[in-house]
């Protein structure tokens, strides 16, 4: 039915309208992205007269300079360290809690779960000043953990909810049988729950990673040393230094968003699932 409709489609004016509409939106999305990519290949003079076309002379130097500078790699390394810390800790802590909420019956279970989901109600920004003071008093200011731990704390609510929903679908009889068989809860968690839950762990891991990789406010507040800056902070500093040398800034932007785009193309299923999954049961 559906395919018959599509093959007849080209003669329908509605389809022409649809194609035009989709085309305009596609241009609206693509133009800024392409202009950024191509702008990095231009000289500043050419950028001024020709901001959007193909470069008349491909200036590889802009990209090469950045790629061979220690600065770019340092920023990526810092971002990678912070994001990896955040993802690892979130997965460990959230899956343990989610397992308990899914499989262990105890007094106050639903109350504690609602307590955790309070985290969904407000953004980290609301309490960022006291958070700064807390991190300072713990001696974590200007460390990777000073950024990663609050990020873990703020991603817990959503992660625990998503994981718990998945864990609950593992048949209770399986756990019961294993327990009767002398297997402990912890072994069951390690050898049954976790291996069976790879898809949801990948999804939660990917959302947490993207959020942490892109984060700006928390690192901005918690870090003072340039050498520890993740890329969103570093790129703002870079832009401050080269304020109107747009060709360099555009090349820098392209190189810093490249990892995100590659990750997106590789793991698009998990990313789309993860970012819209929170929606299904917010």
């Amino acid at each position: 039915m559906n395919s018959a409709e599509t093959s007849r489609a080209p003669f329908d004016p509605a389809v022409l309208f649809k194609a035009a509409f989709l085309g305009i939106v596609a241009i609206f999305v693509l133009v800024p992205l392409l202009a950024t990519l191509l702008g990095g290949f231009k000289s500043l003079g050419e950028l001024r007269v020709n901001p959007f076309g193909l470069p008349s002379h491909w200036e590889w130097q802009n990209y090469a300079d950045i790629l061979f500078s220690g600065r770019y790699w340092q920023l990526l390394r810092n971002s990678l360290i912070i994001s990896t810390l955040t993802v690892t800790l979130t997965l460990i802590v959230a899956s343990m809690a989610a397992f308990t909420f899914a499989h262990v019956r105890f007094f106050g279970s639903s109350m504690l779960l609602s307590y955790l989901t309070l985290g969904l109600l407000f953004p980290a920004a609301t309490a960022v000043l006291p958070l700064f003071i807390k991190v300072r008093d713990l001696g974590l200011l200007d460390t990777y953990f000073g950024v990663a731990l609050p990020q873990v704390a703020f991603s817990l609510a959503m992660s625990v909810l998503l994981l718990r929903r998945f864990f609950k679908d593992i048949p209770y009889e399986l756990l019961e049988a294993a327990l009767v068989d002398g297997c402990s809860y912890i072994k069951f968690f390690r050898y049954v729950t976790l291996p069976l839950s790879r898809p949801i762990l990948a999804t939660v891991g990917t959302i947490t990673f993207v959020n942490s990789w892109n984060a700006y406010l928390l690192p901005l507040v918690m870090l003072n040393t340039d050498a520890l800056y993740p890329w969103p902070l570093g790129i703002m500093v870079y832009q401050g230094e080269y304020s109107s040398e747009w060709h360099l800034i555009l090349a820098f932007i392209t190189l810093t968003i490249l990892p995100t785009i590659i990750l997106f193309l590789l793991a698009q299923k998990h990313i789309v699932a993860g970012l819209t999954a929170g929606a299904v049961k917010g």
């Binding site: 989709l22 309490a127 807390k134 968690f189 700006y216 406010l217 969103p232 832009q239 970012l275 929606a279």
Partner: protein, 312 residues
């Protein structure tokens, strides 16, 4: 591994039915899990999420620069100062504008695109991914890209104006246009997310209802208006919820574009909080803004859930 355990168990139960059944999933085992598995999450959450909110309420009663201990108690004065700041009301108005644009422009756009792209045709998946792409880009990068687009010397805007022989404007530097420019970027960045929500909903829609309407002789637009859209109401309500929550958190995008300026004309609540509380270490004042924002978020979330999402 899982399968082996499942198969092995009944044999054992048959062998030693009574004592095993009595022990069952025992309290000892459960206690160990509770002691080991829950505290890390609860501790982190309490320490970095719940306590800071409580402390914000406490600090908001002081005039304090963050050093030493807070001693100078001034009661509710910080709240009075916030409410007397013109920039606060501007920020609140801007958050309102963002919500209005999300509802009036972004949501219809996302819904239209979802209806077009939920059907299968060549290129549909590629277009979906393309439209979703801005959403995963960092807000900082997006902001920088658009500060180039809007640049009065080099950007797209400049070249369009020059093409018509006019002197290019600096959109981000004028109090009249800065917020408008920010709003366009918001639509660019977030419509794809809402589109994906709608596509996911459309794909899990009960097709038999649409089929039944078609058999009864309903036209395409009738099916759309009377069957599909009503079935999407829960998702529409959810999309509105996300648009509003997102507006209340918006910060990263504003910083590279305008930093909330010029003259506070494009501040959001969070960038106002940053510019007036955090960057000047006015802990009491900043905490008061935080508490107000917290109150807005929580009130909104509860009211919205109660009024609009009762059935879900």
């Amino acid at each position: 591994m899982a399968r082996r355990i499942a198969i092995a168990a009944p044999v054992n139960v048959a062998g030693e039915a009574v004592p095993r059944a009595l022990r069952g999933p025992g309290w000892d085992g459960r206690f160990t899990v509770l002691i080991l598995f829950l505290p890390p999450a609860l501790l982190l959450f309490t320490l970095f999420v719940v306590l800071p909110i409580g402390e914000a309420a406490w600090y908001s009663g002081f005039n304090w620069n963050g050093f030493g201990r807070p001693t100078h108690w001034i009661g509710f004065d910080n709240y009075r100062f916030v409410l007397e700041t013109r920039a606060f009301w501007l920020a609140l108005r801007n958050n309102g504008l963002i919500i209005a644009v999300s509802l009036a422009v972004q949501l219809p756009l996302a819904l239209t695109l979802a209806l077009m792209l939920a059907e299968k045709f060549r290129g549909a998946v590629a277009l979906r991914m393309l439209f979703f792409m801005p959403y995963i880009l960092a807000e900082i990068a997006t902001g920088l890209i658009f500060s180039f687009i809007y640049d009065g010397d080099y950007g797209l805007v400049a070249s369009i104006w020059r093409f018509f022989g006019a002197e290019p404007p600096y959109l981000l530097a004028s109090t009249d246009t800065a917020m408008l420019a920010v709003l366009i970027v918001i639509v660019w960045k977030y419509f794809g997310f809402h589109m994906m929500l709608f596509i996911a909903a459309l794909q899990s829609l009960d097709k038999s209802l649409v089929e039944a309407a078609r058999i009864d002789g309903a036209t395409r637009s009738q099916i759309l208006r009377h069957v599909v859209i009503p079935l999407l109401y829960p998702t529409i309500r959810l999309s509105v919820f996300f648009a509003i929550v997102g507006s209340l958190q918006l910060f990263d995008l504003v910083m590279p574009l305008t930093r909330g300026g010029p003259a506070d004309s494009s501040n959001t609540m969070v960038s106002f909080l940053y510019n007036n509380g955090i960057s000047r270490m006015r802990v009491g004042y900043g905490s008061a803004i935080g508490v107000i924002l917290f109150a807005i978020c929580v009130t909104f979330a509860f009211t919205y859930k109660r009024w609009f999402m009762r059935d879900e």
